[in-house]
């Protein structure tokens, strides 16, 4: 078992019809600032912990500096330049995993750096429908956040449902063991997948 690099993970998601946040693999003129620069390698699972993420880059000069400093620090790794997501979003974790009893399940809940602090999540096993998703949200402590709260937009439940179904479907590929998207930044009519970890066989 191994993890795909961030770059390979994003490509695999795209290949499965899942839109990810816009990214570039090299500095170019069409980059839309602000951006985040991330290191991408199979061997680096916790990018932030090793200083592999630089955020808030607003112009080309800072971008060049950031890219060269990461390349110097991680000579073996790839670099991803990602559009920085702005505005108010709900940060979710969305994942899918195989299960010996139920076949597979998806999980979603409050994501970002507080994922394991709040542990506010729900699991839906194979065969779930929209009604199951609604009920699962209603059982979360943070359910109010899903329907819009103090300036935070409500999240598009159909978008979340569609995303969950798509990540679950990816498990039809026998080589994929687990998919974890965290955070996925959710709004009413859009979401941004900014980080992904995919565990595969071999």
């Amino acid at each position: 078992m191994r993890y795909l690099s961030l770059l390979d993970s994003l490509k695999l998601l795209e290949a499965n019809g899942i839109r990810v946040t816009k990214y570039w693999t090299e500095i170019s003129e069409d980059i839309e600032y602000p951006v985040v620069v991330k290191v991408s390698s199979e061997n680096i699972i916790h990018k932030s912990d090793v200083g592999g993420v630089i955020v808030g880059i607003k112009d080309k000069e800072s971008l060049e500096n950031a890219v060269s400093s990461l390349k110097e620090k991680f000579p073996e790794a790839d670099i991803i330049i990602q559009k920085q997501v702005e505005g108010k979003f709900l940060e979710l974790i969305v994942s899918a995993k195989r299960d010996p009893t139920f076949g597979s399940f998806v999980m979603f809940g409050i994501g970002g750096i507080f994922t394991e602090i709040f542990k506010d999540f729900a699991i839906l096993v194979r065969g779930f429908d929209e009604r199951d998703l609604e009920r699962a949200i209603d059982n979360l402590k943070s359910k109010k956040l899903f329907y819009g709260y103090r300036g935070f937009p409500p999240i598009g439940l159909n978008l979340l449902y569609d995303l969950l179904k798509r990540v679950e479907k990816m498990l039809e590929n026998d080589n994929i063991i687990e998919i974890e998207l965290n955070p996925v930044m959710f709004k009413e009519d859009e979401f941004h997948i900014v980080d992904a970890r995919i565990q595969v066989r071999g």
């Binding site: 994942s95 399940f105 994922t115 542990k119 729900a122 699991i123 839906l124 194979r126 059982n139």
Partner: protein, 452 residues
């Protein structure tokens, strides 16, 4: 479609392999059970005897000249595959295997169990077990629980089916139920479940008019059966109730996990959410499991959202309110019409809200009269009645007087706490409605009726 389970649940003839006249033998208990309750034909099978209790005893199942629906096998594991195959060849369609010594004891046993699986595939015979207590079914008279009746009394006919992997748990539940006079449709303990499992049973019980609820003690489903279990349960729980007590919740050792998903979604968490998705009520503890059984046996199919707390003691009323709100019950006030009716009955300083506090100075008759009027108005889905029977105006006659006013339309549970005097009242009252010691217990028990 699989062969149905009719030969197991309503056989008209049964062969008991290992039947014995010797008191201490498992095969003796089972034979006696069948003689006591089973109205079909009974064929003892044991090469050591020609005749047991006046019944002709056969050397093997295939020697029996007539058709046999069900074979019960209670002999050492190593002989079981041959006996099963002999029966299957004869055309027997159902088997209950009581014997232990299969996959639960290691490699040799696993091989034996695989043989059973092969025979099941080859002949289509359906199997309950091995390594369980089998089936107790008061409707069909099938009873393979190998404990004598005078040690563990059998529960009467009822509308609850119990499924338990564990034989010991099944036995404990049997005794608990019969002590309270709670009836069952059947109790099934299928041990290693080499063939028939929870999914098959739910399928069977869906169409069984004697089953309104299924209570399952679950260690784990068979690999890959979860999808079908959830799908079927979702359908099942539209009309009937399923309660699961899940064992094996603790994580075995803390492996270092790299993903949040792996660290948060352990095996038990997946089960927990899958049960919810399936419309199943999970009993968090064995204690809750028993309370749900109790309340279900009284009020089965009722659904509760609006609850009235009716009390003659302030403190327990307040506690009940706390627990009831925490568990999501609605506690609406009385309608003005009902309110004015109650005002006529109770003392001026009674608090006619929800909780409705008659206060300790309301005499027994007023307490009951008020309750009667509340019942008549049918504004609530259920009533939690708190009673301090120790008060001077209350009598040992309370249960009888209550029986007179109680129409059975609205579920009522009582909370009575106290010593010898109160216990007598409690005992009598619990013949009519469930009675609990504390408000928290009562509210937890009511959860099984809660609208989902």
């Amino acid at each position: 479609m699989e062969l149905d389970l009719e030969p197991i649940f309503s056989p008209s003839s049964v062969a008991i392999v290992g039947a014995s006249p010797k008191r201490e033998k498992v095969g003796n208990v089972i034979l006696e059970n069948f003689l006591r309750r089973f109205r079909g034909k009974i064929y003892p099978v044991n090469p050591k005897y020609d005749n047991i209790y006046g019944l002709k005893c056969y050397k093997k199942v295939s020697d029996i000249p007539e058709d046999v629906d069900l074979v019960v096998i209670a002999i050492p594991a190593r002989f079981v595959p041959d006996v099963l195959e002999d029966a299957a060849k004869k055309g027997v369609k159902g088997a209950i295997i009581i014997s232990s010594g299969f996959s639960e004891v290691g490699e040799e046993g696993r091989k034996l169990e695989n043989k059973l699986r092969e025979i099941r595939e080859k002949y289509g015979i359906r199997i309950i077990g091995p390594n369980g207590m089998g089936i107790y079914d008061p409707y069909s008279g099938v009873d393979t629980f190998f404990v004598y009746d005078d040690r563990v009394r059998r529960p009467p006919k009822g509308n609850i089916a119990i499924i338990s992997q564990s034989g010991a748990t099944a036995l404990a539940l049997m005794e608990w139920l019969s002590e309270r006079g709670i009836g069952v449709s059947k109790i099934i303990s299928f041990g290693n479940k080499v063939d028939v499992d929870e999914v098959d049973l739910l399928e069977e019980f869906m169409a069984d008019p004697t089953v309104d609820a299924v209570f399952i003690y679950l260690e784990g489903l068979k690999e890959g059966r979860g999808y079908k279990f959830v799908k079927l349960s979702k359908e099942f729980t539209k009309t009937k109730t399923i309660v699961v007590l899940k064992a094996g919740k603790s994580k075995k050792g803390q492996e270092a996990v790299a993903s949040h998903t792996a660290s948060m979604a352990g095996d038990y968490e997946v089960y927990k959410f899958a049960l919810k998705q399936a419309g199943i009520i999970e009993a968090e503890t064995i204690d809750d499991f028993l309370k749900y059984l109790q309340v279900f046996s009284y009020f089965g199919k009722r659904r509760v959202k609006k609850l009235l707390i009716y009390t003659n003691g302030g403190g327990f009323g307040v506690l009940s309110t706390d627990y009831a709100s925490r568990e999501g019950f609605d506690l609406p006030p009385l309608s003005p019409a009902l309110r004015s009716v109650i005002e006529e009955i109770l003392p001026d300083f009674a608090s006619i809200k929800n909780p409705l506090d008659t206060t300790a100075s309301a005499p027994e008759d007023s307490y009951l009269k008020g309750l009667k009027r509340v019942l008549e108005f049918q504004e609530y889905d259920a009533i939690l009645s708190i009673l301090l029977p120790q008060l001077p105006s209350y009598t040992e006659d309370f249960p009888r007087k209550f029986a007179e006013i109680y129409d059975g339309k609205t579920p009522i549970v009582f909370v009575i706490y106290g010593g010898e005097f109160s216990r007598k009242i409690k005992e009598e009252l619990s013949k009519i409605v469930p009675v609990f010691d504390t408000p928290e217990e009562a509210i937890r028990a009511l959860k099984i009726l809660k609208v989902r």
